[in-house]
Amino acid sequence: MTASRLTIHELHDLLIKKEISATELTKEHLERIQALDGEIKSYITVTDELAMQQAKSVDVKLAAGENIGLLAGIPMALKDNLCTEGIETTCASNMLRGFKPQYSATVVNKLQAEDFVMLGKVNMDEFAMGSTTENSAFFATKNPWNADCVPGGSSGGSAASVAADLAVYALGSDTGGSIRQPASFCGIVGMKPTYGAVSRFGLIAFASSLDQIGPLAKDVTDAALIMNVITGYDKKDSTSADYAYPDYTTALTGDVKGLRIGLPKEYLGEGIDPDVEAQVRAAAAKLEELGAHVEECSLPYTRHAMPAYYLIAPAEASSNLGRYDGVRYGLRVQSKDVVGMFCQTRKQGFGPEVKRRIMLGTYALSSGYYDAYYLKALKVRNLIKQDYDRAFDQYDCLIAPTAPTTALHKGQNQDPLALYKGDICTIPSNLAGIPAMSLPYGLDRNGMPVGVQLLGKAFAEPTLLQVAYALEQNTSLTRLKPNQGKGL
């Protein structure tokens, strides 16, 4: 069987034509997980019984001649920082091992209403802090393209499961690139929506002013279909944007004639792998060939985004993670008094990167340093946003690398600062709250996938999808499959 290689829209057609049942499709995915995930290690929890029940209910609807939604019966995976009622949600942390939320995230309820099939919860860097998925407290996930490489992170389990056909699509979260960078490393499509477009209710918080949930998918059409379901105003999220969310599939025209596209020079050159830069320039040339106007532009504050981000995000994290005190849920380590209990619980519950960021954030917020670090970073954040505002007066979208390199090798990522620098292409858009997506575009000299990033102004997801779809329809470089060897 090869149904697991197909996309949401291809599988939906097969379900409607009754060429495959949701039960068969789900069974095939569960068998692949059983056979292959011992090696790839993308899943923390496989919810096989639930998945089969959900699939059966879709088959009942189909047998009764009922209409089903486009995501109905399609097996998917959820990043393990999205709350699922009664199903273990760990954030890949010892702090939350065994935690079964009392409620589901809004995105999970929305997918449920569409009759989704949930295969399970997938691996991540602990509390979404990291870019390799090696910071998971449980195990590292492998890149399906090369087992010696990381899948990226923090949504590494989401990206690896989709790239290896262990899920048709997945949801992840992106605070500084955590959807786009793993999508790039694993050769799939990933989108970080505009801040506020997808409810964060039930997403376990890392940095609340930056976090955003989004899709990881096999093609651009699938990303649009998922966006149609997950976007929308939610009164349970006080930062949810009340906006007339469009039907994202109407953007999939294939036509980019007359679009103005900027190629920011700060995202190219020094620090960017030449193979990555070459593919970005090739994608820009292809868009020009298709009738878009591409020109180089400048976002001068880009280089200050990394230091600003690594003050703001840890500051917010140090506050958000204050809740893990051993009182109401999660790990508790006993001690003789209550402060001792807090300190011991946090010592044993958090891994080294989480502790490092809590320390950094607490330092940046502490009295005497607040103005010099945190407040200064917030002002620079405004300058970065103004850079984008000026650019989007002139351009409909920007094109850039998603990451400076292709997938990093495992076990060589001990220097935190070197890893933080790997986020330079993705974090500016989180600081500005604008949408951005990663589209696979060819391979590097070692046969590893390259990601091209498209960025737009707030709520310009349709423009990004339009450009990505045009590239997808006009080259063979965007639909990449790992050479998975025999049996895979």
């Binding site: 009392q102 200050h304 008094d337 946090r346 490092r356 954040r381």
Partner: protein, 93 residues
């Protein structure tokens, strides 16, 4: 340069119990990280407002009415320890 004393103070504020090796490591790593952030001080931000949030955020208000809520049992479902319908913690006073 972040001294070990500062690391210990920040760890205390963060309610993290660090061992000696961690204190040494974090002193070194936080110093390196904060060194790269020194460049921010050179940027002219005169007259630039701090941007804490990208959306024009307004306070969300609602009528003060009782809505759906969890049962006591459900609220306590993940409690490491509970007693008489409450979260139980070590003696505080």
């Amino acid at each position: 340069m972040i001294s070990k004393d500062v690391v210990e103070k920040v760890a205390k504020l963060s309610r993290l119990d660090l061992d000696e090796a961690e204190i040494t490591l974090y002193a070194e790593q936080l110093s390196q990280i904060l060194d790269t952030m020194a460049g921010l001080q050179q940027i002219d931000t005169e007259g630039v407002a701090p941007l804490a949030h990208v959306l024009p955020i307004e306070n969300v208000l609602r009528e003060d009415e009782v809505g759906e809520c969890f049962t006591q049992e459900k609220v306590l479902a993940n409690a490491p320890e509970q007693s008489e319908g409450m979260f139980q913690v070590p003696k505080i006073v």
